[in-house]
Point group: C2
């Protein structure tokens, strides 16, 4: 890490005390030759590498009032979700923390969040920087793909459109957090979203394409449709939701980080068997084909979404 602009000693002590040594036990096994402390980190990777960057801005992607532990965890999880969508394994991450001022308790919470996700996914923080400015966190994750890399662009006509889990836990958790402001079973999926790494690895052997749902199912499905050059018939009413009362919000809000993917029909049963053996499900919600994205739904307001048609 490298300090910028502000008082040297304080910047250094912050980096040393709060941003160093996170996931250090995973450095060697993940092929990291050199971590925080030099101009660059050094990776000794024999395999291909996945890389993705995601920036989270206070007031846009998270509430300033949220616990620093959650802000840190969420910022890494949303980036990590892109590795999951490719069916990859986490290797390491860089983090750039921009914050207006230093508060030891906030930084302690922030470190706790980084340690939490680092431990969960066995990958270390290997670099980045700490600068003064409006609160935001930019995370770059590195991943190692499985044998098959899941792309957005390989869906074929006839492939079945699948979803990893019900949508809406992000919206419901957000709504509840704004109301009560504490961590509980309902707010946890928003405060500590789960990157679907293990799910992504399982489906990587079966799926033809995949994307993570960060911006709402219609929007992310439209990426998959566009990149694959094949239309889709989406049975929106078949999409499992956490809360039917807020159907539209659960579908549009995003922040669920579930995986949306396509599977050739002949592989569907073996995929389902495989998922069941891991106590995971596969929700079939449509079929690929035609030239455009067609949304079948009883919900009037949703049926009228036509900005992709």
């Amino acid at each position: 890490m490298k300090d910028t602009q502000v008082n040297i000693s304080s910047e250094f002590s912050i980096i040393k005390k709060y941003l160093s040594g996170i996931g250090a036990s995973y450095l060697k096994i993940n092929g990291i030759d050199l971590s925080i402390g030099d101009d660059c980190a050094v990776l000794a990777t024999k395999s291909k590498l996945l890389i993705s960057t995601d920036t989270s801005v206070a007031g846009v992607h998270f509430l300033k009032s949220m616990p620093a532990e959650s802000i840190a965890y969420r910022s890494v999880a949303t980036a990590l979700s892109d590795i999951a969508a490719m069916g990859g394994n986490p290797v390491a991450f860089n983090l750039s923390l921009v914050m207006p001022s230093f508060e030891s308790s906030w930084m302690a919470g922030f470190r706790k969040g980084l340690q939490k996700i680092s431990r969960e996914f066995h990958f270390p923080l290997i670099g980045g920087d700490l600068v003064k400015g409006p609160l935001q966190i930019s995370v770059t994750v590195l991943g190692k793909p499985e044998k098959n890399i899941l792309l957005r662009s390989n869906a074929n006509p006839g492939d079945i459109l699948c979803l990893s889990d019900p949508l809406g836990s992000g919206f419901i958790g957000f709504k509840e957090y704004k109301r009560i402001g504490v961590l509980n079973k309902t707010t946890k999926p928003y405060l500590f979203p789960a990157a679907q790494i293990s799910y992504g690895k399982i489906i990587s052997r079966f799926a033809s394409s995949a994307i993570d749902i960060s911006d709402g199912i219609i929007q992310d499905l439209s990426h998959l449709v566009t990149r694959s050059g094949v239309g889709c018939n989406l049975d929106l009413d078949k999409v499992p939701l956490v809360n039917q009362k807020y159907a539209k919000q659960c579908l549009e809000f995003g922040d669920d980080y579930q995986l949306l993917y396509t599977v050739p029909q002949k592989k569907l049963s073996s995929l389902q068997a495989r998922l069941n053996s891991f106590n995971k499900k596969c929700h079939t919600i449509g079929i690929m084909g035609g030239k455009k994205l067609v949304i079948n739904s009883k919900i009037e307001s949703i049926k009228n979404w036509d900005h992709f048609q």
Copy 2:
């Protein structure tokens, strides 16, 4: 690249029009299997990889009033400078652009700056994201090391402390730009700082350690001293400056991105010969040894810097 939050179509059109296809001709030769457009980029690298992240914040690292072309170029150059300090070769970069609003002319300039540095160093933009928020740019650069990787930690007692070029062009350029607000010979080094990639590659065969000077020579030298666990006698008055009248500022301001490095005495003459053959110089400004950083200088204000002693 992936849009976030804001109006889909506009975000997509911005990414497509202004942030795609930058350095596309370098994708294949640099081992990039997949670039912008999916959840991750995919690198097929057989060598070790260098990685570094640098974030530039409006009002902290650059002036909002600066040309967007310069803001883009500078943001990438400062990150690229970390690759130079390791003696590496640019491979690719990710860019996260956070901006409060969209202006086509500004974005056109920003794209121009990205294309400029991408062309100069033959490396492509392979991913990142575009989000709404206070203007700042986070860049993650990937590099391929030469046979020897230059670390901050390998300086030995007796090694000669060297500098690539005179300091102060950043400060003088900044001062002049604030005064006249145009691009000229004086402001160029600030608006478009040069990452010392070729210089770093040349010295990588001779130097024992290196660091780029982004935060002022004393501060960056202190990193090298600390990491190497060896003191240094710095002849501050031997440090070549762009402008003696502003000696202190030239030494403290940073933003020069020159390389500060150590060379074993027996290798110095062959390094100098090698550099001369490329019309480059090596300024010897001190010697490593002892336990602390000792600054020898006639300038009173500088002699009194004692926060590393």
